[in-house]
Amino acid sequence: MREKAADRLRVDLCGIELENPVIPASGTFGYGYEFAEIYDINRLGTFSFKGTTRQPRFGNPTPRIAECPAGMINAVGLQNPGVEKVISEELPRLKKVFSKPVMANVSGFSIEEYAETCAMLEAEEQVGWLEVNISCPNVHGGGMSFGTDPKQAAAVTRAVRAVTKKPVIMKLSPNVTDIAEMAAACEEAGADGISLINTLQGMRINLKTRRPVLANVMGGVSGPCVFPVALRMVWQVCRTVKIPVIGMGGVSTAEDVLEMMTAGAAAVEVGAANLTDPRACLRIIEELPAAMDRYGIRSLRELRSPEG
């Protein structure tokens, strides 16, 4: 029997139901209002807001953006107004245009800082999940170092776990030797979910100046060019942990979403595609039912039975 149209796209993410699995990824969607100008962002499953830290951050010098075949490289460096302003200004503004639980993306430079920022967001009703970024490649002395050492990743997970009742989703870096080991360490330390991948480290050189294009020299590669790498890692992690996994990395079509979910992802984040096609997520949501029909998929939930 054919499922009701709306039910076909429903998924569960750490105990919170999503109308569909499509989630704009942190850093590509601001705090939502730029996109709310062009479509009703309540159509989304949810979205992950701009990576937030305890203190305000300006980020890296410009140029922060470079292009590459089928993708881009960014070295923004976690520019954000700091968690206090996010709570006092961004979240009240968001409430006017978005009525669903939002995913709070949190970064830090010490274990204490991660915990403190998460503890402050714990009181925010609209925050449904904490997505803890231990994988930013663009900041020195923090971010990714927590994402490349399983012991450090576990320590951040435990510290955050201790200060919140909300689901804790650890966002992993692909810039590691063994992604499954990182995911397993987070699961064991009490994570409710895993999201991956953050960007892959890369760079470009301007041949006219013979200098790196990015002021930060290196940045994070995203866009369709990273999709196969991301899919492979999602596959590996889904076969290692039992907690839900959010797949991301170069997703830009409904088929990409179906591949990620067939690999075992419970939901899918869409990043760079939002920047070149502001309606990308809406288009993907609208294309999903027809794409599912093409492959004989009755509901997205039936895809979540990884094997092998």
Binding site: E34, F58, G59, R64
Partner: protein, 244 residues
């Protein structure tokens, strides 16, 4: 911001590396002089931001320089083809501050956004002075366009092959009420050192999205962090921190 499909009516060279492209369709998103559009090109991931030279009821005209792979690809496109364009991006110029005798200072590929501004200021009956700077006579474009609007127009060339030898700062008039400048950063810094009045500068930066989502083009100002694509590209003289 609007996302719209525009048809290329013409795309022709004005100089060795400057082209003029006219696009028709729903351009209702383009609201003010100084705003820009962001163009999707086949085979390139990021859009290319280009300022608006002029706006008609159902058309916009852009003048752009071929500087890299994106603008080269745009230069190869033909009349009849369509472009996916984000329109109405950026803040645009503040026309309320112009005063009676506004001065427009453009350098090279920075000249185009000043044209629509000049037209609107002329329609408001202002006495507009335009100083347009180029490297050489063969690089000069839009001079006649500004003259036809009735702007007091001076052209400078670095090599003296046309107009006044030197830079736009060598041809700034004694009297003006306010200035609008767009051009290479050294030119704008020179204008900032020389100018006697308040004014505003139109800035450029590598952009990811062009509409405020990615924080790729942020800059520090006296009034805090601003996104060139959203709170800019036009910044007031008094808020810009030139040191970098």
């Amino acid at each position: 911001m609007e996302q719209t499909l525009l048809r290329i009516e013409e795309n022709r060279p004005l100089t060795r590396d400057i082209l003029k492209i006219r696009l028709t369709g729903d351009v209702s998103g383009v609201e003010r002089p100084g705003q820009f559009v962001n163009i999707k090109l086949e085979g390139l991931f990021l859009r290319r931001p280009i300022s608006v030279f002029d706006r008609e009821e159902d058309a916009i005209t852009l003048i752009y320089r071929t500087v890299g792979v994106g603008t080269r690809r745009l230069s190869e496109m033909k009349a009849g083809e369509t472009l996916d364009v984000l329109t109405g991006l950026g803040n645009g110029y503040d026309l309320t501050r112009a005063g009676d005798r506004p001065l427009l200072l453009g350098g090279g590929a920075g000249v185009p956004p000043l044209y629509w501004l000049a037209r609107v200021l002329r329609e408001q009956g202002k006495r507009v002075t335009a100083v347009l700077g180029f490297n050489s006579a063969e690089d000069v474009f839009a001079e006649e366009d500004f003259r036809k609007l009735g702007c007091e127009t001076t052209v400078t060339t670095a090599d003296g092959s046309h107009g006044i030898r030197g830079f736009v700062t060598d041809a700034m008039p004694e009297e003006y009420s306010y200035f609008y400048a767009c051009g290479p950063e050294p030119m704008m810094r020179a204008v900032d050192r020389r100018a006697k009045t308040e004014g505003e500068f139109s800035l450029e930066e590598r952009m990811g999205c062009g509409f405020g989502a990615c924080m790729g083009c942020s800059c520090r100002t006296r009034d805090g962090m601003k996104r060139i694509c959203r709170e800019g590209p036009v910044l007031r003289r008094g808020e810009i921190l030139w040191e970098k």
